[in-house]
């Protein structure tokens, strides 16, 4: 029994030990599982959070994509619209430029081909001139727009006499309105300053635009301009009022946008391009002011412009009595002098030569800068008119060369480039001034009058100028003693058939006979030289004999 109980005890003990081990293992495993579970929970939480974040990112990305797409679509439609508008503008412009061009070509062809009465031809020529000027204005406007769009438009503020500018405008529009059977009145308040600083060219452009517009849209009645000044803010206030058809309210804002005239058909009816008011507004804003419009359909419009001026000085309490212009006829001055025209394009050369010749001046022409340079070196010119863009040597290069060689002749640049920055560049380079093409006759004439002489007191002076050397007794004596020496040389060289000697003699005679007015000698000497150079010796000797005979004749006259 004792054994059994022992055994039993052992069994119990072993069971006890077993249980304890199992319990421990269980505990261990439980802990391990708990740790794993908590890790799992932690990880899945993290995963969840990541997922959440990703979800958010995805959503915001989607939102952004939507936004971007919308923006892109908007930009696309804007680009399309602006492209449409530009195309429309280009179409308008092509149409607007084609109309005057057609007139120019058409009337010119009529004048070329048919026998036209002088009365009609004057009418046609006026149309051609008018169309040309219109075209030139149009192109100026296109240039302005591109400068405004690129923010390249710069003002050139200078100090100028305001009443004079206004009176010039007044005179011009008294005339223009009379032509259209409209009344015109300009009221200038007495307290406007006499001198102001702003850009006078642009100010005029603004006034021209507003006034031409007013005339265009007014079939009867009156155009009036009212000029006022606000001294506290140094602001010039100008109202342009017409009794025209007026503009409906919805379209009042639109007319300041370019290529958007209130009525699309207007441009074809009235020949405008719808850019004038856009330019006007941009210019006025650039000058530190604004444009306002009040208009009633059927009664008329009032454009009010304010412009900030600087350094206003003086008061023009006495505005000179209004002058009335009877006509704008261009008086052609009678002038004496020599002009060198350097221009590569033949049509321009002919046209300008024609205009210059009408004044009585003598014109020489050259077709590029180099030829102009060569002629300027050998001739005596009162004025050189120099195109800028030319082949071989351009106008700027020619000017530089003439400057290097110390030529003092005044040189005017001729240019189709009306950008004022360029004009300033030309002046800085040393051009005496700039004339823009197409030439305005009155501007050309005023330049010519500045450098050429008027007919009255010119003859004596001219004679003195050209014969400065010929009249000098010492030079004359030198010339004749050389002539007699060459006379003997030629006789000798003809005998010896010394062609080099003959060339030399002819060269010397050619070089100075012209100065003394012996044109025949110069001519014979030149011809001899040419034959000698061509090695046509038989004829050359004959010509040298002629030259020598003439030489002897001249010498005999002199000795008598």
């Amino acid at each position: 029994m004792a054994i059994v109980s022992w055994q039993f005890e052992i069994d119990v003990l072993s069971i006890d030990m077993n249980e304890e081990r199992l319990e421990k293992r269980y505990q261990r495993e439980r802990q391990a599982r708990e740790a794993a579970e908590s890790l799992l929970e932690k990880k899945s939480l993290e995963l969840f959070q990541r997922n959440q974040e990703l979800e958010e990112v995805k959503e915001s990305l989607e939102k952004q994509i939507l936004e971007r797409t919308r923006e892109a679509e908007k930009a696309k439609s804007e680009a399309w619209e602006s492209n449409q508008a530009k195309s429309q503008f280009l179409a308008n412009m092509s149409h607007a430029t084609m109309t005057p061009l057609t007139a120019i070509i058409g009337f010119a062809e009529v004048l070329l081909q048919h026998k036209v009465s002088s009365e009609d031809s004057i009418k046609y020529l006026n149309t051609i001139v008018g169309s040309g000027r219109h075209l030139s204005t149009l192109l100026g406007e296109i240039l302005d727009i591109s400068k405004i769009e690129n923010k390249n438009l710069e003002l050139q503020p200078i100090r100028f006499n305001l009443p004079n500018l206004l009176q010039d405008i007044e005179q011009m529009y008294l005339f223009n309105c009379k032509k259209e059977r409209l009344d015109f009145v300009m009221v200038i308040e007495s307290d406007i300053p006499e001198w102001v600083v702003t850009d006078p060219t642009r100010l005029k452009q603004v006034l021209h635009n507003l006034l031409n517009n007013a005339i265009k849209f007014t079939s009867e009645g009156c155009i009036s301009v009212h000029v006022n000044f606000q001294p506290t803010s140094n602001t010039l206030l100008i109202d342009v009022v017409d009794t025209g058809e007026g503009i409906v309210e919805e379209k009042q804002a639109l007319i300041f946008e370019y290529f958007r005239q209130a009525d699309a058909t207007i441009s074809s009816n009235l020949g405008g391009t719808g850019v004038g008011l856009f330019i006007t507004k941009s210019l006025v804003e650039l000058m530190g002011g604004f444009v306002e419009l009040q208009s009633t359909v059927g009664r008329g419009s009032k454009f009010s412009v304010s412009i900030a001026c600087e350094d206003c000085e003086g008061k023009c309490s006495t505005i000179k009595a209004r002058r009335v212009v009877d006509s704008q006829s261009v008086g052609i001055p009678s002038l004496v002098g020599n002009i060198l025209l350097v221009e590569d394009i033949e049509v321009n050369r002919q046209l300008i030569t024609l205009n210059l010749r009408q004044t009585g001046a003598k014109i020489d022409t050259a077709v590029n800068g180099l030829e102009g340079l060569q002629m300027a070196l050998s001739g005596e010119y009162d004025l050189i008119l120099m195109d800028i863009q030319m082949p071989v040597m351009d106008g700027k290069e020619a000017l530089k060369s003439l400057q290097q060689l110390g030529i003092s002749t005044p040189i005017y640049a001729l240019t189709a480039n009306v950008i004022s920055a360029d004009i300033q560049e030309y002046i800085a380079l040393g051009f005496s001034g700039v004339l823009s093409k197409p030439l305005e006759l009155n501007k050309l004439h005023s330049v010519l009058k500045q450098y050429l002489r008027t007919e009255n007191h010119s003859d004596a002076e001219k004679a003195q100028r050209s014969n400065l050397f010929a009249q000098d007794p010492k030079i004359k004596a030198l010339f004749f003693s050389e002539l007699s020496k060459q006379n003997m040389e030629i006789t000798e060289n003809i005998k010896k058939l010394d062609y080099a000697g003959l060339t030399n003699a002819a060269h010397i005679i050619k070089g100075s006979a012209e100065t003394f007015g012996y044109d025949t000698l110069t001519k014979l000497a030149s011809e001899s030289l040419l034959l000698l150079r061509k090695k046509q010796y038989e004829q050359a000797v004959q010509q040298c004999t002629n030259l020598n005979l003439k030489l002897a004749e001249v010498l005999n006259e002199y000795n008598d």
Binding site: L370, E371, L373, Q374, M375, L377, S378, G379, E380, S401, Q404, L405, G406, I407, S408, T409, R465, L468, F469, D472, K474, I475, L478, F479, E482, K485, H507, I508, K510, G511, S512, A513, E514, T515
Partner: protein, 134 residues
């Protein structure tokens, strides 16, 4: 106040030299330019830089069509020693080749036969302008 300038005339033809000399004098007289002039002559283009040094020359009138050494060659020689010397080229013709080479080689003037007073006066006046600056 009048200034005195030493002028060197380089031309192989004596008559041409004399004519230019007379023409310069007429210009000075007629335009009351306050200049006294001493003239020096050379009938060839040889050793011109040396002559400039010896006679203390201020202004050179240099014929382009010289025998042996051409005027343009002489101009280059002068420029090597006297970069600022005023040199006026003289020629029977203003051919484009002559004019462009003269400009390229740094000529300060270019007068063409037959001489005209305006161009000669220009050369004198640009000399005076240049002299004032220095």
């Amino acid at each position: 106040m009048s200034i005195t300038i030493n002028i060197l005339l380089v031309d192989d033809v004596e008559y041409s030299r004399e004519l230019l000399r007379a023409a310069i004098l007429v210009c000075i007289r007629e335009h009351k330019t306050e200049i006294d002039v001493n003239f020096f002559h050379s009938s060839t283009g040889e050793l011109i830089p040396d002559r400039i040094a010896i006679h203390d020359i201020d202004l050179v009138y240099l014929d382009i069509e010289l025998p042996h050494t051409s005027g343009l060659e002489v101009l280059k020689q002068i420029r090597k020693v006297y970069p600022e010397m005023m040199v006026v080229m003289v020629s029977g013709e203003s051919s484009s080749k002559n004019v462009t080479s003269a400009i390229k080689s740094g000529a300060n003037g270019f007068i063409v036969k037959p001489f005209n007073s305006g161009r000669i006066l220009d050369t004198l006046q640009s000399y005076l302008k240049k002299a004032k600056k220095l």
